[in-house]
Symmetry: C2
Subunit: 208 residues, 2 copies
DNA sequence: CTCCCTGGTATTCATTTGAACACCATTATA
DNA sequence: TATAATGGTGTTCAAATGAATACCAGGGAG
């Protein structure tokens, strides 16, 4: 048999573990698995064998002697980032304050590597429409990130929050919208009207 | 003290639990917490008190008498969906086949309610640019969903995969791009050139 | 036929674990 | 001043748990 193919019973065990973990928040014990797939409570040895098979075929990883020590290869929690969604950013000095935290959002590490210094905001306005950032979208913002030319940033201008593309000139900084209906905001370097909150690193949208 | 505010020690305990769960894949035992925050191994009673405080303030939920029975309010795994990323969709009858599964992606239930019959695809081409769907984006597709007029769909036309907005006319179906540089594809209802794979329900993009 | 893998049943055992007490110190609040 | 909340220490105990072992049966591969 192929090294990755599962027997019916093994599939059943794997599905049970996945489902248990997703609904309960932690992996099952051997006895919980036994019960879950309709085996007698005394019948842990069978479960042990199934788990050994699943591990050999690469679907799970077991941590020896640890209660509930089962990791799913398909669901690596270490690939997850929990990021707070901020409802309102309040102007303030020296740094703006985050208010109305709506909750948290789980983001795959495919989009965000590290949750440190990262927040999520809801997009208002159409100024970045042509960059594929629409009203209602959720943008993920890295706060303490190096800002490079042409980055899309979340900026405070005169106390207002806005998303724009940044372009540095000789003596000015341009905040460029990606929508011809909006104007470029030009700020002289010596003015104190601008505060760059962070860099937009991901965009999420739900449709329908 | 506010019902939600945490003391320094309580914060420390919560951070430890979060970090443990995310890196190890399952919550810690009381003794692991005790060790993790620098308490003696015998000192479980203190941890019990901290957990009780954290639960009272709504940050965690405990499942009595269960080893590692700690749920994080901020990280509800039940709010997570694990969706396969399909590298290539192969034309085939009666339904296309999914090949080159790149892996899985975790999606917050904020964007996808249910993982059943759901896949993720990478966008190629700019035909939906003005709908905020760009090349390289990941789109989430519901396979067995009711298709309504004006939905954005993944369609097979003459064996080619494409993302378009669907508009039903009297005797034809129009697949409308959201980019003036692309043409509308019109298909007569009696032709067998069209297969609707599913409906696009979410778009994800990484920037930079 | 023999060997290996799968799958189930039954039992034993050392550890681990959550829970419950008792006791103490500090600090903030009423 | 009294009271509650926080935070730490030490101990005991029943229950839960992973591991190991032995036994049995069927099927596929060589």
């Amino acid at each position: 048999m192929n090294t990755r193919e599962l027997t019916g019973r093994q599939k059943e065990v794997l599905r049970f573990i996945e489902n248990f973990l997703l609904t309960r928040g932690f992996p099952p014990t051997l006895r919980e698995i036994a019960e879950g797939i309709g085996l007698g409570i005394k019948n842990i040895a069978s479960v042990q064998k199934h788990l050994k098979s699943l591990e050999k075929k690469g679907y799970i990883k077991r941590i020896p002697r640890k209660t509930r020590g089962i990791e799913l290869t398909s669901l690596k929690l270490s690939n997850l980032n929990i990021i707070p969604i901020i409802g309102k950013v309040q102007a303030g000095l020296p740094i703006p304050a985050f208010e109305d935290v709506e909750g948290t959002i789980a983001v795959d590490s495919l989009f965000v590597r590290n949750a440190d210094g990262t927040i999520a905001l809801r997009v208002k306005g159409e100024s970045m429409k042509n960059a594929g950032i629409l009203p209602g979208d959720v943008v993920v913002v890295k706060l303490n990130e190096q800002i490079n030319d042409n980055d899309i940033v979340v900026a405070f201008v005169d106390g207002e929050v806005t998303i724009k593309r940044i372009k540095r000139k000789e003596d000015t900084i341009d905040l460029v919208p990606e929508n011809p209906e909006f104007d470029v905001i030009t700020i002289k370097s010596n003015e104190e009207r601008l505060y760059i909150l962070g860099k937009v690193v991901a965009v999420f949208r739900r449709i329908g």
